[in-house]
Each structure stands twice: as C-alpha cells, then as structure tokens.
C-alpha cells in the first residue's frame, strides 16, 4: 500500500475509539460535523451510537449527550450493560446526559396548527452547555418522523439542529433506518441534510449465515477506506470492525530459523522454518497433519518457546492421546506453561467472533508459535467471502506478532486435489507442505513434499514417510513414480527419470 501525504489542510477528525472503525475512516469522525449512520433493523445502530459516547468518556473524558427518540433511557441503560457500559455511573459523574424524547406508550398527540422543533433544540443546547459535551448521538431519526406528520418540517428542523451543533463544535452522529440492505441510503430522505458523511451498517443473510458489515459511503472532503468491512459485537466491548484492506503489509521478516520439531523435515526446508512465517500443511484426512502440528509444538516447547494450539476438529482428550502415541506429552507441557491448547467447535460462534477470540488469546498468551488444526474446519461456518476475509485477517495479525504460524488444511479427496482453504491462503503463506496418499502395489503409503519455501532453498523431493511411536520418519524419495500430486501415481521403469 502506498501512503500519499497531501499538503492541503485536512478536515480534523476525532477518534471514535470503536476498534477498527478509526482505521477504516482514516482517523474517526469529522470533528464538529454530523455523520449519518444508517442501517436496517437490528444492524447495531444504537450500539454504535452508544459506543461513540462511551469510548469518548473512557478514553479522554469527553462528555456526551444521548438524544433518544425511540427507546427509553431506562431501556438503553439496561440493554448496554452487557456490553460493559454502566451509564448510571457516567450520568452521576456528569459525563453522560440523556435528552429523552421517546414517546410515552398510549399517549395521544394532536396537531392543531403550526409548530417547530424549537423545544428539542433548546433542550439539546441546554444539555450541551450543562455538561460541556463535545460528542452527541441521536437515535433514531426515523422515530422523529413517526412522531410528527409534517416530514418536510422535521427535515428542515433536523438540518437546523445539525447546523447549530456545528456552531457548538459538537461532533455528532445520527442514526436512521433503511428498509433494504442495498437500496436508498435512508428513509424520509434524511441523508440530504447530513449528506457530508454517511456510514452504512449492514446485517445480511448470506447462505443462512448472518454477516455484519460497515461501509463508509461518503466522507466529504476527507479520505477513508472504501468497501464493506466485516464487524461483530462482543460482550464487554461493543462493535469491533475487522479492517481488511486497511491493513498494511508492514511485517518484518527475519532470517532466523526455527525447528519444525522434526530433524528430517528441517533438513528438507534448508534448516527449519523461518521464525516469522506462515506454514500451510495440506493433505487428506489421516495423512499426518495433526502429527506435524504436534511435532511443531513439541519442538518449540523443547526449546523453551511458548506454543499455542487452536484445535477445531478434535477434543482435548483425543489430541493429548494422539500426542502421547507419538511420544509428546502435552499434559506435562501445559503444566510447564509453555503450551496452551484451545479447543472449540467451529459452529460454536461466527467466524468474526472466532477471530476476535483468537486474537485476544494470542495477545494474552504471547506465544512464539501458533498452530491451527484445522483451518478448513472453519470453512463450514462462513461464506467463501467471509472465510477469505477471516484467513487474511488472521494471517496478517499473526505476522504482525512476528511469530511462526502453522495451519493445516484438509483436502476433500483422498488422492490429490486442493482445498478451498489452500486457494485462499496459499499466496499468503511462506511455506507449503503437501501430504499425500500414494497407492502402490495394493497398499496405501504416505508421502510428503515441500512445495514452496519463500526465501530459501529446499528439497524438491517427494519423500515417503512412516509414523511410529517416535513420530514421523522421512524415508526415501519416490524416484520411480510419477503423478503423485495429481492423484494418479504411476510407476515408471527404472532408469527413466520421472520429470
């Protein structure tokens, strides 16, 4: 990515504190301006509006006004408690003030003559002055239109309010409804008066899976990242955006080698894996992917490195028993604190939630090497697009930690073939190891080859290997067989080199 530094004055922005959004928006919301946040029902508009104020209080003590037209303050206080925001505390500290414009249930309202929204404006001005607010959220505009008959009047009054907020130098956010995920920006034409900045929140059903994204549609006079970015809502933290293309390829790469946990494999790779590289191990079920993972972790722990395993296919008991069978005692390693094994069902959460949790665990445990077995198990819970974003986001995150990451991918067919995971991830990986079955003379044999090793020479042989109580043992190359990787092994007569 190229960074271009313009030399004309930029519109100042204030960081919202909403993880990921500040990156997507190149610095936050335009200061002193009004931004429209538009979305369908259930697209997390209110959470976004509350979080904008909450982060302002938490990060810099900025006081904020919350104008509610829909839910009562009591409902909002209760609803956001699980997200980790105790509004009552902030209200007592004079950092948070509600302007309650929510309708009372069952109360009639008759219109008899000309009116304007001067009372709302007076209340907002009073509230801003009272606590010295610099941030304001208004939720939601659709509910204002529902309270009054004259939509044109409401529009022009909202325009007047946003102009006054600008004079008061209050950075504000207004939410509004849309009826379709891909259609007009907002109902009642509200985007026309706050058209400077528009953020769209989406909650799309794709292949029976919910996918939340945010997109900055307009940011007049200032830069931002384009396109839709996935986000999720995490209890205790609120909205978390996953900025994908906003990430920069800044990771360092080192020439330090680390062991794969297997001397023969190290030799094939020209002396081991690179310390901050991503290694993909691909093969059909039962070819030895979990074994390579086990040796990778054991090899690291033996050198005193901290190792982290995310397992999505097998339970702890299975993993520990398997490791035992190959001469690695995971129990002891966990007790020593060098190994951490995290097992989860792919279906237990959405991919975005898995990603956030994995990042949290990585940040907390601070491992030197990370293994994911298997990556392809996670394909089940996402759309191809969502999965690709997940892969890119996780690999880039791991690379930024400057640790080694080893992922496994299961190929769907026993003989040869590639997996979806592979096609998504192969260009992001530094090394690819293929494991394959070879059917020869009425028996199934296993072979291994190092397909790619970025920045290093490696052995190009296809080696047969055996598995016993001591782990994996690489043997002789299949010199007289061709077509292994294509899934169609054929013996060639001795003396004729197989090319």
């Amino acid at each position: 990515m190229f960074t271009h530094v313009p030399n004309y004055p930029q519109i100042e922005k204030i960081e919202t504190g909403i993880t990921g959004f500040d990156l997507i928006s190149s610095g936050g919301l335009p200061k002193g301006r009004t931004t429209l946040v538009s979305g369908t029902a259930g697209s997390a508009k209110t959470v976004f509006a509350v979080q904008f104020l909450a982060e302002g209080i938490k990060r810099s003590g900025d006081a904020g006004i919350f104008v509610t037209f829909e839910e009562s303050p009591a409902d909002i206080r209760r609803n956001v408690k699980s997200l980790g925001w105790d509004l009552e505390v902030w209200e007592a500290e004079g950092k948070w003030l509600f302007v309650d414009a929510s309708p009372d249930p069952g109360q009639d309202q008759v219109e008899a003559g000309r009116y304007d929204l001067g009372a709302l404006l007076a209340r907002i001005e009073y509230a801003v002055a009272k606590i010295g607010a610099t941030r304001l959220s208004m939720d939601s505009l659709g509910a204002v239109f529902a309270q009054f008959r004259d939509a044109a009047l409401v529009r022009s009054e909202l325009f007047r309010i946003s102009a006054i907020l600008r004079q008061l130098k209050v950075t504000s956010l207004m939410t509004s409804e849309r009826t379709q995920e891909y259609g007009e920006i907002a109902r009642f034409g509200v985007e026309e008066f706050v058209a400077d900045n528009v953020v769209i929140l989406r909650n799309v059903l794709e292949d029976e899976k919910r996918r939340r994204t945010m997109e900055i549609l307009k940011y007049r006079g200032t830069s931002h990242q384009k396109g839709e970015f996935p986000f999720t809502i995490v209890s205790g933290r609120g909205v978390l955006a996953i900025p994908l293309s906003a990430m920069e390829l800044k990771q360092k790469s080192s020439n330090v080698r680390i062991t794969s946990g297997n001397k023969e494999l190290d030799a094939m790779c020209g002396g081991g894996f690179f310390r901050d590289s991503i290694i993909l191990v691909s093969g059909a079920t039962g070819t030895g992917k979990t074994l390579i993972t086990t040796e990778f972790l054991k090899g690291g722990a033996d050198k005193g490195e901290r190792c982290l395993l995310f397992a999505f296919e097998e339970s702890r008991e299975q993993l520990f028993r398997n490791a035992d069978g190959w001469g690695s005692n995971f129990e002891e390693l966990e007790e020593s604190g060098l190994l951490k094994v995290v097992c989860a069902y792919p279906e237990s959460a959405s991919l975005e939630d898995h990603l956030i949790e994995m990042k949290d665990i990585i940040e907390h445990f601070k491992p030197n090497r990370i293994a994911v077995d298997s990556f392809s198990a996670l394909e089940r819970v996402a759309t191809p697009k969502g999965f690709r974003e997940f892969v890119i986001s996780l690999t880039s995150f791991i690379k930024h930690q400057e640790v080694a990451g080893l992922f496994t991918a299961t190929t769907p067919s026993l003989m040869g073939g590639t997996s979806v995971t592979e096609s998504h991830i192969s260009t992001l990986t530094d090394s690819i190891i293929l494991l394959r079955y070879v059917e020869m003379n009425g028996s199934m044999r296993r072979c291994l080859t190092v397909l790619k090793m970025r920045g290093s020479l490696h052995d190009k042989d296809i080696l047969e290997f055996n598995i016993d109580g001591g782990g994996m043992h690489l043997g002789e190359p299949f010199r007289h067989v061709t077509g292994i990787l294509a899934g169609n092994p054929r013996e060639t007569p001795y003396g004729i080199p197989a090319i």
């Binding site: 109360q107 309202q109 219109e111 008899a112 003559g113 009116y115 929204l117 009372a119 209340r123």
Partner: protein, 107 residues
C-alpha cells in the same frame, strides 16, 4: 380568570378542574398566536375552571425534560387525567378542542 401570559403555579389553585401547561420557545409569532388562541378557547369553554402555566423554554429549558417536549408550541393537559398533548399554535380550533377532549371527534 387568569391571564394566560402570567405564570401561576398549579398548586396555588388546588381547586382548578383543568390544569394546562403551554410550552413555547421565545416570543415568536407562533408563541403569541398560541397564547391568544388558548386564552380564547379557555374563556369560551372552561371559564372559571382552569389554570394555565406558560413556560418559555429559552428561559427555562430544563423544564422541557419532564413532559418530554420536542415541538413548540405544545399544550399539555395535566388535569383532568389522562395527560394529553396538543402540538401547534392552536389556530385549528376544531383540532385543539378534540385534543383537549372538549369536543368529540366527528367522522
């Protein structure tokens, strides 16, 4: 009975059957129209039985919070219960009377 443009607290007149509160924002033409329209309606329909408090939100914005006032002018019928709100300068007498339930809504 009471002049509509003077502020009289409701509790000074404990026997008034009708307690009304009119919210305005400054002495705008709409505010003045609302005050005079309300005075006329009250004298015609509620003479001797009402109490009106006028609140200017430019002077006392904090008072809008309790009745959750957004639009001005807004007339709030505090008594008799239940509470009702009539928005606008009351130039539409028919609607104002319907809002105050001084006249049934005609089909």
């Amino acid at each position: 009975m009471n002049k509509t443009n003077t502020v009289v607290a409701a509790d000074e007149k404990p026997h008034a059957e009708w307690v009304l509160r009119l919210y305005i924002a400054g002495q705008t033409p709409k505010s003045l129209a609302a005050i005079s329209n309300l005075h006329r309606i009250c004298e015609e329909h509620l003479a001797g039985r009402y109490d009106v408090e006028v609140i200017d939100l430019l002077e006392r914005p904090q008072l809008a919070e309790g009745d959750k006032i957004i639009a001005v002018p807004t007339l709030v019928r505090k008594l008799p219960a239940p509470l009702r709100k009539i928005i606008g300068d009351l130039s539409d007498t028919e609607k104002a009377l319907v809002g105050l339930q001084l006249k049934p809504l005609l089909g």
